[in-house]
Amino acid sequence: MSGVIEPGAYMEFVWSAYGLTALGVAGLFIFILAERAGAKKKLAREEDEAGQ
């Protein structure tokens, strides 16, 4: 088995690329989930208003 865990040249570039990709994807996930929570809250409020 040969992996980047073994000492090798340019490891910092490999881990930086994977780390930034993970960060970008995680950020997108958080944005999507927060957006959903906001929309849900707004819809519940408007439905309450409409029901009154």
Partner: protein
């Protein structure tokens, strides 16, 4: 497809099944791709371990282009047939595509430094991919800048369709221009992939995993957008009554 799913109840039923399926497949494929890509594939003869950057860079690039293509098709369907679901799909895809295009540029830059000796070069592939990223940003900015929802949707659709012209430039730039630093196609070639199976397997696993992940994100955002539009309609009704 869009006609069938244009009914919100049908779309909801479809999304309820498709979202967990996409999420589950994304997790499995990305986990397998990371295992093969980081720990179970050999370093490249010339590039050494930096070849492993390819397993995130190339899927991000493919998605940056594929999502834009899908966005432009959805915009075309909205523009011609006025299917609201097509507009919801287009608007839901934009930030997802922008993030993947950005990840392609960032990971490519990190790969470029040890391989070419520079973070960035203004060659046709890199420049056209940067334009691709800016097209996503332009689409989102245009839609956000116009208050009238219908006008925003139509203007965004026109921009998305015009921007389609950049896709073949990105795809064929390495063939159309000489003296490029960026390498040519290695997977989608007339004579078959030119990379070894031990590198092709993690690449395809990651590409499939990223695709399902993007599918999850777009469908999830579409459900949110439908919810937000419903809330906005209720708000308009309430304000009209007041």
């Amino acid at each position: 497809m869009f006609s069938y799913l244009a009914n919100p109840k049908r779309f909801e039923a479809f999304a309820r099944i498709a979202i967990p399926v996409c999420g589950g497949l994304a997790l499995i494929l990305i986990a397998a791709g990371l295992w093969y890509g980081l720990f179970n594939s050999p370093p490249d003869r010339f590039q050494g371990d930096t070849i492993r950057i390819m397993y995130v860079h190339v899927p991000a690039a493919w998605l940056g282009l594929a999502i834009y293509f899908a966005l432009a098709i959805a915009s075309f369907i909205f523009f011609i047939w006025r299917h609201n679901l097509a507009d919801v799909a287009a608007v839901s895809m934009a930030p997802v595509g922008a993030v993947f295009a950005a990840l392609c540029l960032v990971s490519g830059s990190i790969w470029g430094k040890p391989t070419w000796g520079t973070w960035w070069v203004w060659d046709a592939r890199l420049t056209s991919m940067l334009i691709q990223f800016l097209l996503f940003l332009g689409y989102m900015a245009l839609r956000a800048a116009i208050e009238d929802d219908k006008l925003a949707a139509r203007s965004g659709a026109i921009l998305a369709m015009v921007g389609l012209i950049n896709l073949p430039v990105v795809r064929f730039s390495v063939e159309w221009w000489d003296g490029m630093l960026h390498q040519g196609a290695t997977v989608f070639r007339m004579d078959g992939p030119s990379i070894h199976g031990s590198q092709l397997l993690p690449l395809l696993l990651m590409a499939a995993g990223f695709t399902f992940m993007a599918g999850w994100m777009v469908l999830y955002r579409m459900r949110t957008a439908i919810m937000a539009r419903k809330a906005a309609n209720l708000q308009k009704l309430r304000e009209a009554k007041a």
